[in-house]
């Protein structure tokens, strides 16, 4: 072996040692650099004393001490490091840190842009109160293009993809504004509700970058959506506390901030928070355990118990479902929640692990939700002619069917998996392939419903 080979193998050994050390949470990159300097100095001294490089490495390693014990000592001294830090990304050195900072700055600028954009119509004489319909229809168009832009920048999407995404937003803007819908009528409300759902797919395509065609890319988007929702709720709660304090202290000097809150703080904050929350989800995805699966684990048993009890009560007492106006919406929402619980437990599950108790629970949840929904649908179907087909009812019915189909087939796939006749991946694939269906239905509601129902 030549001297150069010795140096090479020594470098390889040090590299390996360094990467091993880096995996320790309590030992940061700067500490690794400090320890490496020590190790190299020790090796040099031992080589001077006549040892071969690899022998010197072994002795120096031994003197450095057991790495588990060492990282325990570091953890004791730096216990804060075990609490993974969120916004600051201190463990990455050099390039990575610069990148994280640029990322943060871009996200912040886009958040400010969203906050400004939502106030731009004011320049043209629009008012949040008087033109609530305009705002309701267009609200997603103020925020989602910027969010899409963020991912376009971050993922470095090709110009051809960007053209498609931009085309989708332009089409959405046209459809949202050309129809002569009645102010605050049924179809306008439906458009306001469904446009964000349809456009969320566009965000998803940008989010997944080139991976939208792969199941993994779409699954990541599902995860992102769940985490974003949780972060957004947290930010909204913080914003609520902030606003309460603002109102309180200004009340003390007899100034009413309500006007400022309604026309500036709330719309601008709500728009900007979408960007900030997305950036946080992106920045922390490798830092903290995802929250959505944790909540899923907590609430799946509760919802399963609730639904089983409900079905039991229906059977026992023989009560029919009391058909009110909102019962269909209530059951739609129930299916959405159940689907969410299913999705986020699917997203966090290792597809290779064998079926467990939680999987059985999941199937109980899905099947009982299907039965409960069937009871409601049965009641509605028998009286639908009496009620007539309003746009709301048709939209709600359509959603119910879409969710029902998804959950029914999911239940079949899950049962197959439990009986070891199929793999968990099939269920994952079914869920990720189904994503466009929601968006397509939402697009149909936005585009076809207003003319179909005479713009009421």
């Amino acid at each position: 072996m030549s001297a150069a080979d010795h140096v090479d193998s020594l470098e390889a050994q040090v590299d390996q040692w360094r990467s091993y050390l880096r995996r320790r949470q309590a030992i940061h990159t700067v500490d690794v650099a400090e320890l490496e300097d020590h190790l190299r100095e020790q090796i040099a001294a031992l080589v001077d004393a006549g040892l071969a490089a690899d022998e010197a490495f072994l002795v120096a390693m031994k003197r450095m001490g057991n790495l588990d014990a060492l990282s325990r000592e570091f953890a004791r001294e730096h216990s804060d490091r075990l609490w993974k830090q969120l916004v600051v990304v201190p463990s990455e050195a050099g390039d990575a840190r610069g990148w994280a900072r640029t990322d943060g700055i871009v996200a912040f600028c886009l958040a400010v842009a969203a906050a400004v954009l939502i106030k731009v119509p004011t320049l043209f004489g629009m008012d949040l109160d008087q033109d609530a319909g305009f705002y309701a229809r267009n609200v997603s168009l103020f925020v989602l293009p910027l969010l899409t832009g963020y991912f376009v920048w971050k993922r470095g999407l090709a110009a051809s993809t960007v053209r498609w995404l931009a085309g989708a937003f332009i089409a959405a803007a046209v459809f949202a504004n050309v129809y002569p819908v009645a102010p605050l009528g049924y179809t306008e409300r439906l458009m306001a509700l469904h446009l964000p759902i349809a456009l969320w797919l566009v965000v998803g395509i940008a989010y997944a970058g080139g991976r939208w065609r792969q199941g993994g890319g779409r699954m990541d988007f599902i995860r992102f959506t769940g985490e974003l929702f949780i972060y957004y709720v947290l930010i909204a709660l913080g914003g609520g506390v902030f606003t309460a304090f603002m109102a309180l202290i200004f009340q003390a000097i007899d100034i009413d901030v309500e006007r400022f809150f309604q026309s500036w703080l709330l719309p601008c904050g709500a728009a900007g928070a979408v960007l900030i929350a997305s950036w946080l989800v992106e920045a922390k995805q490798s830092v903290i355990e995802n929250m959505a699966p944790v909540l899923t684990k907590l609430f799946t048993p509760l919802f399963a118990a609730l639904l089983v009890t409900f079905l039991g009560t229906v059977l026992w007492t023989g009560r029919g479902v009391d058909i009110e106006r909102n019962v269909l919406i209530a059951f739609d929402l129930l299916l959405v929640v159940v689907l969410g619980l299913l999705l986020y437990s699917v997203s966090a599950r290792d597809p290779r692990s064998p079926p467990g108790v939680f999987d059985v629970l999941q199937v109980v949840l899905v099947v009982s939700a299907l039965l409960a929904d069937a009871v409601a649908l049965w009641a509605i179907a028998s009286r639908i002619s009496e009620f007539g087909f309003t746009p709301n009812r048709v939209a709600a019915l359509g959603e119910n069917v879409i969710l029902l189909v998804n959950l029914a087939w999911s239940a079949v796939l899950y049962l197959r998996f439990l009986r070891k006749r199929g793999s968990f991946t099939e269920l994952e694939r079914w869920q990720t392939n189904y994503i466009p269906v929601y968006a397509v239905w939402a697009a149909i509601v936005v585009i076809a419903f207003p003319p179909l129902f005479g713009y009421i």
């Binding site: 650099a33 400090e34 100095e41 450095m64 001490g65 014990a69 060492l70 000592e73 570091f74």
Partner: protein, 128 residues
């Protein structure tokens, strides 16, 4: 010679501070100095020095800075602060008190029962 973990932990602060009071230094050199001063009787596990240094840094007893060493590698140097010197003086008082007490009792023991003295206890006064 094996020195107990607790004693090692307790003595590491004054030893490191005292070495830094001689002049700015870095991890490897501090360990060399410890070996030299103790005549090889105190052997720290090398890595364990660093959590100690970081604790002293957090407490404000030492300051750290990165410099490029003559080898071309970046190296973290430590310097004792004025609080560190005050802490060293305080530690010194405490250790002198312990040392004086032990010396007193060793002397009494060696005078009254020299014959039954177990041989392993003999080197302890120097070690402490």
């Amino acid at each position: 010679m094996e020195i107990s973990k607790d004693l090692m932990a307790a003595s590491s602060t004054p030893i490191v501070l005292a070495i830094l009071a001689e002049g700015d230094s870095y991890g490897y050199a501090i360990l060399q100095r410890v070996r030299e001063l103790s005549g090889g009787r105190i052997e720290w596990t090398d890595g364990m020095l660093y959590p100690v240094l970081h604790r002293l840094e957090r407490l404000g007893h030492v300051e750290a800075r990165w410099e490029v060493a003559e080898t071309g590698r970046r190296r973290k140097y430590y310097r004792i602060t004025s609080e560190g010197r005050a802490q060293l003086a305080e530690e010194r008082r405490q250790w002198q008190a312990v040392d004086a007490t032990l010396r007193g009792i060793w002397q009494v023991l060696s005078v009254s029962i020299p014959a039954t003295q177990p041989p392993s206890a003999a080197p302890l006064p120097q070690g402490a």
